[in-house]
C-alpha cells in the first residue's frame, strides 16, 4: 500500500526513470498478495470459511434443524455456541448455515461471471450498435434494486435455493459487464489485437486468447467484491423469511434471535460473526488484489482505476 503511493508521488514529482521503481515486482500476484497483512488475513479468513463449509457434514454432523436439547443454553463445552429457543445446537446450525451461504455464493458467482464477462467483452469488442444495445439492457438491470427483484421472484416462484441462485445469478452481473466492457474497449485498439484481427484471426479466438487474459485481473477484483455482496444479500433475504425453508441459513438464525435478544445474545452473535468473517475475508482479498494490481492498472487509459474505486458502489 505504502509502496504504491510513494511510487505515484515520486512519479508525479518529476520525470523519474520508471524502471527504477519497478524493482521487486517480478513475483506472482499471489505472492505479492501474501506479503501484505491485509492479504494474509483475507487469505486465512477465506480459506477458513471455505474449509468449514466444504466439510460441514464432517465438522458438525447431523441435521441442523434437529431439536431435542434444552432450550436457550448458553455456550458451553457441550454446545460451543449454545442452543436456541427450540433446543437446536447453534454450532451445527451456524456451520450448515455457512455451507448454504457458500453454495449460493459459488453458484451465483459462476453464473454472473459468465454473463458479465460475455456481455461486457462482446459489447466492448463489437462496439457500435451492439454495444449500445447491451449497455441499455445493463442499465435497466441496474435500475431495479437486486434485493427487491429477488424478493419478488422468491414470492412469485417456489422459494427454493435454486430459485434464489438463478435470480441472484441473473441480476448480479451488471457491474462486471460495465468494467469488462471499459477494459475491452481500451484493449481492442491495441496493436497486438489489431494485428491479430488483420491476420484474419476469428473473433472468438481473439477474445479468448488476447482480450480475456488482459481483463482478468480487473475482473477478479470485481467478481470477488460481488461475491461478498451476495453473502449479505442471501442473509438479508433469509432474515426477512424469504429463503429455502429446508436449508439452514445464517439470516434465518439471526431473525430467529430477534425475540430472544435480551435472554440469549449468543443466538444472534455467532451467526452474525460468521457472516462478517466471510464477507470481510473476501473484501480484504479483493482489496489487496486491487492494490497489487493497481500499479499496472494506473497506466491503463479509460479510467480503469476509477472503475475499481467505484466498484463497491454497485447496489445490493
Amino acid at each position: 500500500m505504502a509502496g504504491s503511493i510513494l511510487a505515484s508521488a515520486t512519479a508525479e514529482a518529476g520525470d523519474l526513470a520508471a524502471p527504477a521503481l519497478d524493482g521487486g515486482q517480478r513475483d506472482g500476484v499471489l505472492q505479492r498478495v501474501a506479503r501484505r497483512p491485509s492479504g494474509v488475513v483475507g487469505l486465512l479468513l477465506t480459506t477458513f470459511v471455505g474449509v468449514v463449509s466444504s466439510f460441514s457434514g464432517w465438522i458438525a454432523p447431523g441435521d441442523p434443524f434437529l431439536l431435542g436439547n434444552p432450550a436457550l443454553l448458553p455456550p458451553s463445552g457441550g454446545h460451543r455456541f449454545g442452543t436456541d429457543n427450540l433446543g437446536r445446537d447453534l454450532f451445527r446450525a451456524v456451520v450448515h448455515g455457512m455451507r448454504t451461504s457458500m453454495t449460493v455464493v459459488v453458484w451465483v458467482t459462476v453464473i454472473s461471471a459468465v454473463i458479465g464477462i460475455t456481455i461486457g467483452a462482446v459489447a466492448g469488442y463489437r462496439a457500435g450498435v451492439v454495444d449500445r444495445a447491451l449497455m441499455r439492457v445493463t442499465e435497466l438491470f441496474q435500475t431495479i434494486p437486486r434485493f427487491f427483484l429477488a424478493l419478488l421472484a422468491m414470492s412469485l416462484f417456489e422459494p427454493t435455493l435454486r430459485t434464489l441462485i438463478i435470480v441472484l445469478g441473473l441480476t448480479s452481473w451488471t457491474l462486471l459487464a460495465r468494467v469488462v466492457r471499459a477494459e475491452t474497449l481500451s484493449i481492442r485498439t491495441r496493436e497486438y489485437v489489431e494485428s491479430a484481427r488483420a491476420a484474419g484471426g476469428n473473433d472468438v479466438h481473439i477474445l479468448v486468447h488476447h482480450v480475456l487474459p488482459n481483463i482478468l485481473p480487473t475482473a477478479i477484483v470485481v467478481i470477488s467484491l460481488g461475491a461478498s455482496r451476495v453473502i449479505l444479500l442471501e442473509a438479508g433475504l433469509a432474515f426477512l423469511g424469504l429463503s429455502d425453508q429446508d436449508r439452514m441459513s445464517l439470516g434465518f438464525l439471526i431473525n430467529n434471535a430477534q425475540q430472544f435478544l435480551e435472554q440469549a445474545w449468543w443466538m444472534s452473535v455467532f451467526p452474525g460473526v460468521a457472516i462478517v468473517l466471510a464477507v470481510l475475508g473476501i473484501n480484504l482479498l479483493a482489496d489487496t488484489f486491487n492494490d497489487v494490481l493497481n500499479p499496472l492498472l494506473r497506466r491503463e487509459p479509460a479510467g480503469a482505476r476509477g472503475s475499481i474505486l467505484r466498484m463497491p458502489g454497485g447496489e445490493v
Binding site: L6, T10, A13
Partner: protein
Amino acid sequence: MEAPGQALLSVRDLHASFHTDAGVVKAVDGVSFDLRRGEVLAVVGESGSGKSVTAMSLLGLLPSPPARVSGQVLWKGRDLVGLAEPEMRKVRGAEIAMVFQDPMSSLNPLHTVGRQIAEVVRLHTTSSKRQAWERAIEMMDLVGIPQARRRAKSYPHEFSGGMRQRVMIAIALACDPDLLIADEPTTALDVTIQAQVLELLQETKERTSSAILLITHDLGIVAGMADEVLVMYAGKVVERGPARDVFYRSRHPYTLGLLAALPRVDDEAADNRLRPIEGTPPSLIHVPSGCSFHPRCSFRRLETCSVDEPPLAAHGGEAHRAACHFAEDVVSVAPADLQRSVPSAAAAAPGP
C-alpha cells in the same frame, strides 16, 4: 531586490532524493547555476535526467516525504531551502511563477479561467474580487486571448490547447514575477502554436526584465531562446555554458548525442525521424560507477570512465564547463559527423 550585478537566483549544490521501497532515488545530485535578470537559462536533458525535479525543488513543490531536498537556493540573497511554508508561499506565484507542460490537465476543469487567473491575484495582493477579475481580463488581453472579457467566464475545456497555455502564462504573469519557470511549455502543442507561445514568453521577459528558466528536452527551442544552457544527465550537470558554446563547441558526448538527435529542417533529403541516443537512461537508484554516461558513450575508455567521475571542469574559457575526461576529443566532432556515421542518415548536411 538583489544587489546590482548580483544573480537573481543562485543555486548551489542542490540535491533532491526520494526514499522509496526500492531504494533512494537521487533525482538531483549536486546542481549549481546562476541566473541574472533578463537572462534565459535552458535546462535540457532526456526525461529522467532530473530537470523537472530541479524546477520543483526550487519552489519547494516536491512532496515531502518522500522527497528530501538539500543545498542552497539563494533567491535575492535569501535561501529558499528550508524556508517555512508560509514564507515560501509568498514567493510562489508572486516572485517565482511556473508554467507547466500540459495546459489541459494543469487547469482546474471546474473553475472558469478568469477565476483561476484572479485566484493568484487574490492570493498575493489585497485586491477586491472585482479588481482581481479585472486584472484577470487584462492579463488575458495581454497574452493575446481575443474577447477576454467574454472568454474569462469560459471553462478550460472550451479553449484550444494553445489558448489554454496562454491562460497558464496569464496565471504565471498576473503578479509580475521576477522569474518564470517554464517546464516543457510547448511540448503538448502544435508546431505553429509552439512558436507563438515561445514568442509570448520572450516578449514578456523583455517587457518586465524578468528571467526565464526554460526546462525542455527540445534543443530546437533552446537554440532560439536561451542565453545559457545547462545539460543534465542522471541528476547531474554534465555541461553548461553560453548557448553558442554548448551548441557549436559541445564538450560532452551526451550533448553531442542530443544535438545529433535533433530533426534537421535544413535537410530535406535526410531521414527526419528523431534519433534517440542509444541505450536507456540509467536507473537513478543504481547509477553507473565513474561517469554515469559511460555505458552509452562512444568516446569511453573503460579503464578511466567506469572508475573516475569526471569533474565539471572549465574548457576554453571559465564560462563553458563540461564533465568529461575526453572533452577535448569531443569538441573536434560535429553532431553531423555522428549522423553521418549512421547509414540511414547518409545524406546529412554539413554541420552548422
